[in-house]
Every structure is written in structure tokens, then in C-alpha cells.
């Protein structure tokens, strides 16, 4: 009888010990190694020469919409306000906590302040574009392999292979894809792949009058982008989705979706 209770006690102690280990271990793991969305995507998956990304300094953006306009001219994006590879949003956080977001024609025709000054707590512009995710939800869902992450970290579309199922359009959490109304395939920002491969910079960055966009190679530790990341407190959009976004925003407010 004595033996039995002792054994029972022992097994209970063992059990409690195990539970404690698991609980403390999980808690410790979550404290010790917090998820860092910035570093998460900076390391290239493959042994490639380049790993491109983009930095956007919201402190500099004046919301002129020249990036969206230049993008349309450079990449043959239809002029209608439903097709954008990049666009600008104006966020206005009111004193009462309400968040107003606007993007008339993607910001190409300029912004008109819609909320009077005395009701504004804070207002700012956010240029949006493809985040060239290192773990793209859009690439993941393409049924035929018509969209892919190139070895240098740019998400591209194979025009001749896309079947136009729009699964990727649905899957992109950033709303960066659209079906081209003339070519009838999906279209998206290529980070001006045809320019960066010729040694030029993306059209939106070139056109930005305040140089708020910083294109660069994350592999090159001396690149402007890496410098920008080191000198500023950068965040990515929707880090909880684990997309490995490579468009880094300085001064990003949590209100931005």
C-alpha cells in the first residue's frame, strides 16, 4: 500500500514537472526570441547575388502621387483608377479616434484635405506597392507557377503562362495585384525589374521629388537601403501574416492596413 502511494506521488510529481517545463519553456521561447519581421525577410532564401527590397520614408512623403503616375507611364498600367502597381493613401486620424483613409485615383490627381484641421489628431501619406514578400501568399496559391519569387527576391509574373484564375489577386493581403484589362493576365509591380537589371532605379523612386523611396540590395551591406534600415525604425505592413514583406516603412503607424 505504502509503495503504491509513493509511486503515485512520484508519477504526479513527474507529470507536474513536465507540465512546468513545457509552460516555462514556451513562455521563455516567446520572450527570448521575439519574431522580428525586419530581419525575417532580409536573409535571402537561396544563395543569390542580390536580394532586392524597398524602403519608404513616410516622414518625407508629400503625397504628390508622382510615383503612381510614373509607374503607370513606365509599365503601361491602364490609366483608370482601378489598376495600380503603386498608389498613395492619405491616412487621417481624427481627435475622436476615427481613421479616415482616402486614395482618389491612387493619389495621381493630388489629395484634398477632407477633414478640417481642428478635428485632426494626425495625418500622413502612405505610398503602397508590392511588398515583394520572401514568403509570398500570392506565389503560394498560383496553381500553375505563373508567378514566382525570382532568385534575387522579386515577385514576378510570367505573362505567357498566367491563366487568369485570379487566385493570387484574392490571396495578396496588400491588394497589389489586378487583372490587366487589355492583356488579360494578372499584373503587378515588378520593382521595375527591367530597369534595375539595366542598372537604373525603379521609376517610382526616380520620380519621387523628395526621395522618400529607397530601392536597394539587402545583400549589399553598404547599399542605401541597408543604411536606411539601420538608421531608421522601420516596420513592414501586416507583419502578423508572416509574409516576409521586403518593403520597409519608416514612421509607420499601427493604423495603416
Amino acid at each position: 500500500m505504502m509503495m503504491k502511494t509513493e509511486k503515485k506521488d512520484k508519477s504526479r510529481r513527474e507529470f507536474l514537472k513536465k507540465v512546468a517545463t513545457v509552460v516555462v519553456g514556451t513562455a521563455a521561447a516567446s520572450v527570448i526570441k521575439p519574431f522580428n519581421a525586419i530581419v525575417y525577410a532580409t536573409a535571402p532564401k537561396k544563395d543569390s547575388e542580390h536580394w532586392y527590397g524597398m524602403g519608404i520614408d513616410l516622414d518625407k512623403c508629400i503625397g504628390c502621387g508622382r510615383c503612381a503616375d510614373a509607374c503607370k507611364q513606365e509599365n503601361g498600367v491602364p490609366r483608370e483608377p482601378f489598376f495600380f502597381r503603386t498608389w498613395v493613401e492619405q491616412y487621417t486620424i481624427k481627435e475622436n479616434g476615427e481613421v479616415v483613409v482616402e486614395s482618389p485615383n491612387g493619389g495621381i490627381d493630388g489629395f484634398k484635405q477632407s477633414v478640417p484641421d481642428n478635428e485632426i489628431f494626425k495625418s500622413f501619406f502612405v505610398p503602397k506597392m508590392c511588398n515583394h514578400c520572401a514568403h509570398s501568399p500570392c506565389v503560394q496559391v498560383c496553381p500553375v507557377g505563373a508567378t514566382y519569387e525570382s532568385p534575387d527576391g522579386v515577385v514576378l509574373v510570367d505573362d505567357t503562362y498566367c491563366i487568369g484564375c485570379r487566385y493570387c489577386v484574392q490571396a495578396c493581403p496588400y491588394g497589389c495585384r489586378y487583372i490587366h484589362p487589355e492583356r488579360h493576365v494578372v499584373d503587378k509591380c515588378t520593382l521595375c525589374y527591367h530597369r534595375i537589371k539595366k542598372g537604373l532605379r525603379p521609376a517610382c523612386e526616380d520620380a519621387c521629388p523628395r526621395k522618400a523611396k529607397i530601392f536597394g540590395d539587402l545583400r549589399d551591406k553598404n547599399s542605401e537601403l541597408v543604411k536606411f534600415l539601420k538608421e531608421h525604425t522601420c516596420l513592414v505592413l501586416r507583419p502578423h501574416l508572416n509574409t516576409g514583406a521586403k518593403v520597409y516603412y519608416n514612421s509607420l503607424s499601427t493604423e495603416v492596413r
Binding site: P78, E80, P81, F82, F83, F84, W87, E89, V100, V101, E102, S103, G106, K128, P137, Q140, V141, C142, P143, V144, G145, A146, Y161, C162, I163, G164, C165, R166, Y167, V169, Q170, A171, C172, P173, Y174, G175, C176, R177, Y178, I179, P181, H184, V185, L241, T243
Partner: protein
């Protein structure tokens, strides 16, 4: 002006609040919704047939053949709205030759093929094999050859082989019941595996849809 773009301008006037500009266009509309509707009918018809076959519900005996043929007819048409929804429908074959293993939609091609080839066609073949043999001997002209091809050259209608037909048909039906759920529930998985759509990303979505 392009009717699509004209329509989008109309939609834009009805948008309340803010959505991303690219998302004014509703991408998965009626044609996509038609698909789960049709597969719902397919699965329903198949379950009706299996009620008789597996669960021996005698009341639905008269509907057995009808429901099987209905299931086949609807299954063959189920892909039509999907294919016509593609902006490049003639490239649809790519989904079968280079299926992307991480895409729910690519694997759908095989789920569909499984259900069509292994479940429905087989079951109907086992059910009608005897008739095919008889018709291929009775009919004349083209139909004679059609039925001959449909027999796949098996002209044996001895009682023992027919017994095998019955037994095999039953096995296929038993496999078919979960497959019918799979085919219909898989639509839920296609929607649910979208990262951007939090409402569909529950682990129970395929079940709810089926």
C-alpha cells in the same frame, strides 16, 4: 468605353469607406459561386445513390440510376463556369501539367479527376457494363461501336463476373461517399487557404462548406 471599366466606375460610386483601389473589381463572382452550387448537386445526387447502394434504403431505389447519371452530367459541366471565368481559358490545361503543389487550386484538379475517374465513371461502368454488352450486340450503326468501346472489350456477362460488378460497384460507392464530401468541401479549402481573407481561414471552413 470598355463595359468592364464603365461598370467599375459605377461600382466606385457605391464604395463606402476605403478599399484598396485594385479591389474595386470583384474578382470571384457569379461564375465561381456556380461551381460549389453544381458540386453540391453532384454530391447530393451521389449520396442519394449511395443511400440505396450502401445503406439499403429501398425507398430511393427508383432514383438510383437517375441520380448517378445526374451526378455525372453535372460533374462534367461543373468545370465549365470555372474555365470560362479564366481570362485565358485556353491555358487551363497548365493546371494539370504543371500543378503547383502549394496551391489548393492546383491540387483541386486531381481531386476532381479522382472523383470523376475513380468514383463516378467506375461506378456507372460497373452498373451498366452488362447493358453495354447487350446493346453492343443489339444496336446497329455508330451506336453499336460506341457501346463496344464503352465495354472496353470485356464481353463476359457470366453470372460470376456480374457478381464481381456488383461487389466492385459497392466498394467504389463506399470510397465515393467521403470523396463526395471531399470534392464539395474542397471548395471551402480553396477559399479558406487565402491569407488575405481572415474570415475563411478557419480550420473548420472546409467542413462548413461541405
Amino acid at each position: 468605353m470598355d463595359p468592364l471599366i464603365q461598370n467599375l466606375y459605377n461600382v466606385l460610386t457605391q464604395v463606402q469607406g476605403y478599399i484598396y483601389p485594385n479591389e474595386v473589381e470583384l474578382h470571384w463572382s457569379l461564375l465561381i459561386v456556380l461551381y460549389p452550387y453544381i458540386t453540391g448537386l453532384v454530391a447530393g445526387a451521389f449520396i442519394l445513390a449511395s443511400l440505396e447502394r450502401v445503406f439499403r434504403v429501398k425507398e430511393v431505389r427508383p432514383t438510383y440510376e437517375l441520380s448517378l447519371i445526374t451526378a455525372l452530367a453535372l460533374l462534367l459541366t461543373a468545370t465549365l463556369p470555372l474555365v470560362s471565368h479564366l481570362t485565358k481559358p485556353f491555358r487551363a490545361y497548365e493546371i494539370m501539367i504543371t500543378p503547383h503543389p502549394t496551391s489548393a487550386m492546383a491540387i483541386f484538379g486531381f481531386v476532381y479527376l479522382w472523383y470523376l475517374m475513380v468514383v463516378l465513371l467506375l461506378e456507372i461502368w460497373f452498373d451498366y457494363r452488362r447493358d453495354f454488352v447487350i446493346w453492343s450486340q443489339e444496336k446497329t450503326g455508330i451506336m453499336k461501336w460506341v457501346y463496344k468501346i464503352l465495354t472496353l472489350g470485356v464481353m463476359d456477362v457470366s453470372p460470376e463476373t456480374l457478381k464481381w460488378d456488383e461487389r466492385l460497384g459497392r466498394i467504389v460507392t463506399i470510397i465515393g461517399i467521403p470523396s463526395a464530401f471531399l470534392l464539395h468541401g474542397y471548395v471551402g479549402f480553396i477559399f479558406g487557404s487565402i491569407k488575405a481573407f481572415a474570415g475563411g481561414s478557419g480550420s473548420d471552413t472546409p467542413l462548413l462548406r461541405s
